[in-house]
Every structure is written in structure tokens, then in C-alpha cells.
């Protein structure tokens, strides 16, 4: 059984038949912007942009029902952290106003912020030159974003915590009958944290069908492949055992992501495990076997080699 409201296409500028091409364009640009930022700043979270590009593009273009972005799409300068009389958590504004009926987006692994900034730019929510200030002193477009960073609603830089915040929001919305969905993006490394399973346990216990969780299973963590650092087994089977509706899809297939994220019973949290390739778009990274791809720093000539071998720069937008 599927909620009709959740199945219908979200509000947005993209006509029904064109959304797939738009997702592919946005995904390609997330990768390109991720690469160019890493090149400019002599390092960056590139493989995260590569693995998550279709997931984020599908969320912003197709799945999420977000309200309009702020009139001024230029990020404000850093104005301090939140405190009494200082409500500076405005990063979420770029995901639309926080009102009843509007979906909310929670990014848990905040080192994916770069990819989110790119997604916001490509979907017209953030000014196109916003990344000029990326990771410079005094900017809110931090490398690992906080609640003042565009698109970032929860400070998720310490992993495994933000899903619980999503549970809290979905819990109250569910009790109030609010049909806005809570979308949480989670990375697979976070499933090593016990809190992830505490969160899924509670989400299932409360029957939170309004909670949608997309997990980027790119298989990598800081020390190297998850399978060698600390294997977690099947996230999908675990999520099902915890009472979630769980699906496993090709994370570069927007149709499969949409189908899975809009399936399942109305009274169970929906988990979509997206199998992804952290080298997608830049096959030259495959020469790397060391652990340093988590935050990539290019060796001499490597960036040029990657650009030359990338279909992103040869006219074909997707690999």
C-alpha cells in the first residue's frame, strides 16, 4: 500500500516527462563541481559527490516537496553560532520555508555538504557563484556544514546522530497528521554507529511512514573499504529486521530510487539502500587503492588525468 499523496510528483519547475533528464544533468554537475572544488582547494570530498550525485539530484529534482527558496539566494556571511537571541540556523531556508506540509531534508554526513551546495545551485536554490567562497574564512559554506550552511538543517558532522533528529520530527508530524515527509540522507559508514539502529528501532516502533531514509552505500570510510575496516553485513536485511520497509537499488538509477522511495507500507519507515560507485564519473580514481580517497588530494598531474578520462568533460554528461 502506498500513500497517494506521497506518490504524486512533487511541486517544482520540472515537467513530468523531463525530470529524468534533469536529474541526470544535475547529477553530472554535482560531480563536476565536486571535482573542480577539490582541484581548486587542493583536496576535497570528491568521492562523496561522485557516489551521491543521483541520490541528491533525485531528491531535489523529483522526490522532495520543498517550498520556494529564499528571495536572496546569496548565502549570508557567518554571523555566529546559535545562542540566546541569535537564531542563526537559517541553512534550511534554502530547502524552502519550514512550514506544515512541506518536506524537510536532513543531511546526516555533513562532509557531503559540497554535494548539497552543488545540488542547491543546480536546482536554482542557491546563487551560482556561491561556491566561490567555499571553505574560506568567515563563510558559511563550510567544508563540513553546520546549521548556517545552505541546505544544512542539522549539524550532522559527528556521524550517526542526525537520523534521530529526523525521527523526532517525523514522530510529531505523524502525530499531528502533517503530510510533510522527513527525508534523511545517511552514509553507509554511519551504520557502524549503534545510534543508527536505535533510531531505526524507534522509527519502526512508532510506525513512521513519513520518514524516508536514503543510504549512500559507497563502501568506503576514512581508513579504506568498509569491508576491511569493519564490515556491517547487509544494511537492507538489518533494516528489515528492525521493522523498516527496506529496498536495495542501484544508486545511480533515478527511476529505481524513486520507485523504492515511494514504495512500502504507510506505517513503516522507508529505507532505500543505494549501492553506489565512489569513482562514478572519474574512472581514473580507480588507480587509487589507498585510503586517502575519502578526502582526496591529487598527486602531480592526477587532476589533469582525471579530467581527460572523465566522460563529464567529453560531452557525455553521464557515464
Amino acid at each position: 500500500m502506498t500513500s497517494a499523496a506521497h506518490m504524486s510528483p512533487p511541486d517544482g519547475d520540472v515537467a513530468d516527462g523531463d525530470w529524468l533528464a534533469e536529474v541526470e544533468r544535475v547529477a553530472a554537475m554535482i560531480r563536476r563541481r565536486g571535482f573542480e572544488l577539490a582541484e581548486k582547494h587542493d583536496g576535497g570530498y570528491l568521492i562523496q559527490a561522485c557516489s551521491s550525485a543521483e541520490i541528491l539530484a533525485t531528491l531535489y529534482v523529483r522526490l522532495m516537496r520543498l517550498g520556494p527558496p529564499p528571495a536572496n539566494r546569496t548565502p549570508r556571511p557567518f554571523a555566529g553560532t546559535p545562542g540566546p537571541g541569535r537564531a542563526t540556523q537559517w541553512g534550511g531556508e534554502f530547502n524552502g520555508p519550514d512550514v506544515a506540509g512541506a518536506d524537510r531534508f536532513i543531511l546526516s554526513p555533513a562532509h557531503y555538504s559540497t554535494a548539497v551546495y552543488a545540488a542547491l545551485i543546480e536546482t536554482g536554490r542557491l546563487s551560482s557563484d556561491a561556491l566561490d567562497d567555499y571553505n574560506s574564512d568567515g563563510t558559511t559554506l563550510e567544508m563540513i556544514g553546520a546549521e548556517h550552511s545552505p541546505g544544512i538543517e542539522v549539524t550532522g558532522g559527528s556521524l550517526g546522530q542526525a537520523l534521530s533528529v529526523g525521527v523526532g520530527r517525523a514522530l510529531w508530524r505523524s502525530r499531528c497528521g502533517d503530510d510533510g515527509l522527513i527525508w534523511v540522507f545517511v552514509s553507509d559508514g554511519e551504520t557502524q554507529e549503534g545510534q543508527t539502529w536505535e533510531a531505526l528501532q524507534s522509527a519502526a516502533a512508532f510506525g513512521l511512514g513519513n520518514l524516508r531514509i536514503l543510504i549512500d552505500q559507497n563502501g568506503w570510510q576514512v581508513d579504506g573499504p568498509m569491508a576491511t575496516v569493519m564490515p556491517v553485513g547487509s544494511i537492507t536485511e538489518k533494516a528489515r529486521a528492525f521493522g523498516c520497509a527496506a529496498f536495495e537499488v542501484d544508486g545511480h538509477d533515478p527511476l529505481a530510487i524513486v520507485a523504492a522511495a515511494t514504495s512500502g507500507p504507510e506505517d513503516a519507515p522507508n529505507v532505500v539502500v543505494c549501492r553506489t560507485d565512489p569513482r562514478r564519473g572519474f574512472p581514473a580514481i580507480s588507480g587509487r587503492t589507498d585510503a586517502m580517497t575519502h578526502f582526496i588530494r591529487f598527486r602531480p598531474g592526477e587532476a589533469d588525468e582525471m579530467r581527460a578520462s572523465s566522460p563529464l568533460y567529453s560531452g557525455a554528461l553521464t557515464q
Binding site: T81, P82, G83, S164, V165, G168, R169, Q195
Partner: protein, 317 residues
């Protein structure tokens, strides 16, 4: 309960200790505003954050160790950082439980006062408990409230006011500042000192952060010596707050901190523990004797010795 009745945005979240923290009445009265999250405190704190982001004022009552120590990073990043109006209520403060090191919150004030945006309360008497909620609407941000439970003495008729110490006695010979469950012990010691001719200023501190009450500064400055008394480690609690205040205000008088020294604690009944760890009235008298050169004693000293098992010792864990 009255506060929740007046404030429909109040919700209560518990971690399997609903009855132990006297939240069962809330559960029965407001079933739609009550959530049990089970024994999963890290997730629970994240849920508090989510509920607050939905515009609610969530209360999380539990044993203080499970409120503060276990989900510390979650509180820091999901509650304190975004400055959300979450009310963390910590029961079984310090050595008021026979539960041993796992249940004795001897560092909760230290952990919570360190967090930016966090208001920290340490309630001492029944009036505090009955009236502190009236201060909550004015607090823009999260609150940690250390809460006594069961039979709580009543010192004051004057209701709790945020940031206001309450004066039990005035005097120029020595200044005693106490907080929480240590306040009755300090009061008993002060009575003995007064009977012995010592003029004692005794202020009970129920707001640990902010810590900027000018009457406290004046009481310390007007006295040749100050004693702090707390049911907490001497480091990071009231003693530290007073030491910092004295140093920054340039008050050059002597300070003695009565509290748990740099040690973990073990299980036992509160009278035994308070005596064993030196945070009872005798300890205050000893500190005063050292400062004043007197040799006073309490008539009915509780000797720190093991006593037989008591049924009440196993209550509520």
C-alpha cells in the same frame, strides 16, 4: 503538571524510567504528549531535538547519569548547539542513590555548565521544585535541572527565581554557599556555628549557570573566608564557579570547597555516603574550624560506617 497544563507545547520523553522519575502521572494525563523511547539515550536526545524543531518544548526526565553523561555529545550538538528549548531533568543527583558509580551523577553539573547556551539549575528544596517551571518561558535555550526526589525539605517560601541566590542567614565571620542536596547539611552546620557565636552568611545557590548574582559576589567579598558545599565533585561544580568568580572579581579571601574530591564513588545509603566522602555537616564544620581556628563539633555526628541492608536502599533503580 500545572506547567504542562498551561503550555500545550510541552511533551515528555522517557527512557524506561517513567515511574521512577514520577512521570507516570504525565503519561496518564497527557497520553498524546508522552513518548517512551526505551533504553536508547543517544537516539532519545536526537528525538528531543527533532521534537523541539517541530516547535515543542520537550522534557526529558531521567536519572541524571542517563541525562548527561551517556548522551553527552548528542546533547552538545543536537540540543545545546542549536539552542533548542529542551528541558533535561536529572534525578538522583550525586550521592543520593545507593546505586553506585553507574547511578551516581557526580559530574553532571560539570558536564552541563561547560556547554554553551545551557542554563544549569541545581534545586535544593520543595519550593524550588514547585516553582522553577515559572522561570522556563523566559529562558531562550536548553535547561539542565538537577532535581531532588522523594521527601525534599522546604527552606524557602520565596519562589525560585533564575539567577537569584536565597539567603538563609547573614553574618560577617564566614560565608557558606551551598546547593542541592548538600544545602540541608550546610544549614545544619551553620546552625551549630551560629550557636557557637560565629556570624555565618549562608546562601543557597539554585542557579549554577548563569552565575552572576551580585549578592553572591558581595557575600564572598564581605567575608574573610568562604566555604562551598555541594553533592558533586569539587571540580566543575559550585566550588569551581565560586573560585572563578573570586579570581575574576579579585576577591582575595580564602576558599574551602566541601564536595567529592577527585574520586569515583561507590554504593551505599546517602547518610553513609555523605559522611564517607566528606560532604555532610561534619565536613562543613571541619572546614570552618580550619578557617576560623575553632574546634566545634556536632552533637549527633553520623559516623561513616557500614550499616545493615535497608529496604529503602533498593528503591527506584
Amino acid at each position: 503538571m500545572d506547567y504542562a497544563r498551561r503550555n500545550p507545547r510541552v511533551v515528555c520523553v522517557t527512557n524506561d524510567l517513567t515511574k521512577s522519575v514520577e512521570a507516570d502521572l504525565f503519561r496518564e494525563t497527557f497520553p498524546d504528549r508522552y513518548f517512551s523511547l526505551g533504553m536508547a539515550e543517544q537516539n532519545l536526545v536526537g528525538v528531543l531535538s527533532g521534537l523541539a524543531r517541530e516547535g515543542l518544548e520537550p522534557f526529558y526526565p531521567s536519572f541524571s547519569v542517563f541525562v548527561t553523561r551517556r548522551p553527552y555529545e548528542q546533547i552538545a550538538l543536537n540540543i545545546a548547539y542549536p539552542n533548542l528549548p529542551v528541558r533535561l531533568i536529572g534525578f538522583l543527583p550525586g550521592l543520593t542513590t545507593p546505586g553506585g558509580v553507574t547511578h551516581q551523577a557526580t559530574d553532571d553539573l560539570s558536564l552541563m555548565t561547560t556547554l554553551p547556551n545551557m542554563t544549569v539549575l541545581s534545586l535544593a528544596d520543595a519550593t524550588d521544585v514547585e516553582t522553577f517551571t515559572d522561570s522556563l518561558p523566559a529562558i531562550d535555550g536548553p535547561v539542565f535541572c538537577r532535581m531532588p526526589r522523594g521527601e525534599v525539605p522546604r527552606f524557602f517560601d520565596e519562589p525560585f527565581r533564575l539567577g537569584h541566590a536565597r539567603v538563609l542567614s547573614e553574618g560577617a565571620d564566614i560565608c557558606v554557599l551551598s546547593t542541592g542536596a548538600a544545602a540541608p547539611h550546610a544549614a545544619r552546620a551553620c546552625e551549630t556555628l551560629s550557636a557557637g557565636g560565629v556570624a555565618v552568611a549562608h546562601l543557597v545557590i539554585s542557579t549554577l549557570k548563569p552565575f552572576d548574582d551580585l549578592r553572591v559576589t558581595e557575600a564572598i567579598a564581605d567575608s574573610p573566608a568562604t566555604i562551598t558545599v555541594e553533592n558533586h565533585l569539587t571540580r566543575g561544580g559550585l566550588g569551581t564557579a565560586v573560585a572563578e568568580l573570586m579570581a575574576e572579581a579579585g576577591i582575595r579571601t580564602t576558599l574551602r570547597r566541601v564536595g567529592i574530591r577527585d574520586t569515583f564513588t561507590h554504593g551505599g545509603r546517602p547518610p553513609y555516603l555523605f559522611a564517607h566522602y566528606g560532604i555532610d555537616a561534619i565536613a562543613v564544620i571541619r572546614a570552618a574550624n580550619g578557617l576560623l581556628g575553632t574546634s566545634m563539633t556536632l552533637e549527633d555526628e553520623v559516623v561513616a560506617q557500614h550499616s545493615g541492608p535497608h529496604e529503602d536502599a533498593a528503591e527506584g533503580l
